[in-house]
């Protein structure tokens, strides 16, 4: 029995080695990695609503700073939201350093959030919470959004996505 087991183990190791040596045969292809800024749907938490803003697959080591518009050109638009109740809170170590909201209509906002430590490749970076006056909605204008890493350069090639209900967060790439 032991002899058989040893033989089986040796065969398995040999198969693994052969596969290593024979390599790919053209089956391998890497799907393009697309960096995404994700805006989640409003979730009711008691008397308030919360919207999570997350990133996924950010290149160049990840995101260390995010700017959503300026006072002159705000990137966040709220629908059916009481402007006086809006609070932006950093997630995953991000801190909101400046924010401003205008009653409108429409209700609009801008903010800057930064993180001084390791950048975030995937995960939530901001949480907007507010009280609603109807069915709330939050939309972002991607032409007024800037993402930065800590090299320090702007991150290019990302896209805004409000669709995915789920995303993957992968760390440890080696």
């Amino acid at each position: 029995m032991t002899w058989k087991a040893t033989r089986l183990g040796s065969i398995l190791l040999l198969v693994g080695l052969m596969l290593t040596l024979t390599a790919c045969f053209g089956h391998w292809f890497t799907p393009p990695q697309v960096a995404v800024l994700i805006v989640g749907p409003p979730v009711q938490v008691g008397g308030r609503y919360e919207v999570l803003i997350s990133v996924a697959d950010m290149p160049d080591g990840g995101v260390a700073g995010i700017q959503l518009g300026t006072v002159a050109q705000r990137a966040i638009e709220f629908a059916n939201v009481d402007v006086g109740t809006i609070v932006a809170e950093g997630q995953s170590g991000f801190r909101v350093t400046a924010q401003d909201y205008a009653a409108g209509p429409p209700v609009e906002g801008c903010l800057i959030a930064v993180y001084g430590g390791a950048p975030i490749v995937s995960g939530p970076v901001l949480k907007l919470s507010f009280e609603a006056t109807g069915v709330p909605a939050v939309t972002l204008d991607d032409t007024r959004i800037w993402l930065a890493n800590d090299t320090p350069t702007w991150i290019a090639g990302w896209s805004l996505d409000t669709g995915p209900a789920y995303y993957t967060k992968k760390v440890g790439t080696r």
Partner: protein, 415 residues
Amino acid sequence: MIGRSGIAAVLLLVCAAAPAVAGTLSGETSLWIGIDPLGAGLEALDLGFGVDYTLGAVTLSTDGLLILPGTWVWQGFSAVGRVGGYGLTTNVLFGPSTTDYLYAEAIVDLSIAGIDVAWHAAQLSDAVLGGPADGWALRIAGSVGVLDLVSISEFGARIEDDEFDGITIVHAATGEERHYATDPVVPGQGFTGEKLSLRGLPFCCADIDTRLYFSCAGFEYVSFGVTGIEVGAVPWLKFDVDLTFQLQTKSLALAPRLSLGEVLCVELYAELDGDAFSVLSLDGIRFYGVELACELGPVTVRDVVVLDLNRYAITTEAYGSVVERRTDAIDDGHDVYPDYWEMFSIAYCGDGCCAGDLTFLLNVYFDEASTSLFDWAMTHVEAKAPLGEQFRFTLGMEALPIGVDSLTFGFHVDW
């Protein structure tokens, strides 16, 4: 962590007895009701539930999370069992609120003649950003003398090890996470990588760990690592060395570590202070925290102080209430209190009435920005008491200077 937004949670565990049919049926259901004494009363309602069904050598389980009033975050199913030398683990995850199948994983392992073989397969659906993907991997591990050899052959999937963290699926609306060991990385099949690890290779005064990784693109890297190199005249200083060769680069990482040892009831949180880009320059020792701890029978008293709040913070109760670097906390998924510079804690753990422990925890936090007496900022209270062999009661509270922020009541029934 109980949310700072003022949500108070009441945990009610509701269990319905169910007759066992052929196997053993057990489980639990947890209902979280948020109550904000300072605000509008009921604020949130989270429902977690799990059922285990053991049939012979296999246990079937399901667990889910429902955030009321209407977000069914996910529902997972698993089967775990062992028959003879074979072990089986399967996981399937669904997103009921969007009626999506999300992820599936199967792991079969066996051990023969000192060789551990594990086959991992996984599939990620296109309902998850990052999918679709599927693949499998074969892990073979064994020992030859003092050497530990691990071979991981990847066919479209990678599996969790000390270098790779598997896959985490995140619910975009709530930030809730589920973690699995097998990460399918590409759609389709075919050989995608081979990782060989050799540990304990004796080399004069040290044991070397080596790792060699090939992918379909060819050679990726080979690394040699040695940990805990001691510096003879400096007993409190140790080095980890990692030499990595990639196709076009070579890197040498020297990681100095401070080893102060244990001093009874006082723990100093410290690290070496130097140029982050040149470990050849060590400027000193940076003390970033102090902890005093004393056990007096069933009572434990602790005082934890953070000396550098810019880079360190106290973790929440769920993560041990220790001082941790903020970046490490994020990497490891630990929650921290970002603003509190000190925590005073009293914990009690004694025998309860009914084969269970009676526990009580009182944590008091201080914030230098607070205008309260002694910078008091928040008090956290937890208590658990058994009320029967299968029945436990839970109480929790968090209080801020403006009043009680949250209340938690709960019942737990094992059935």
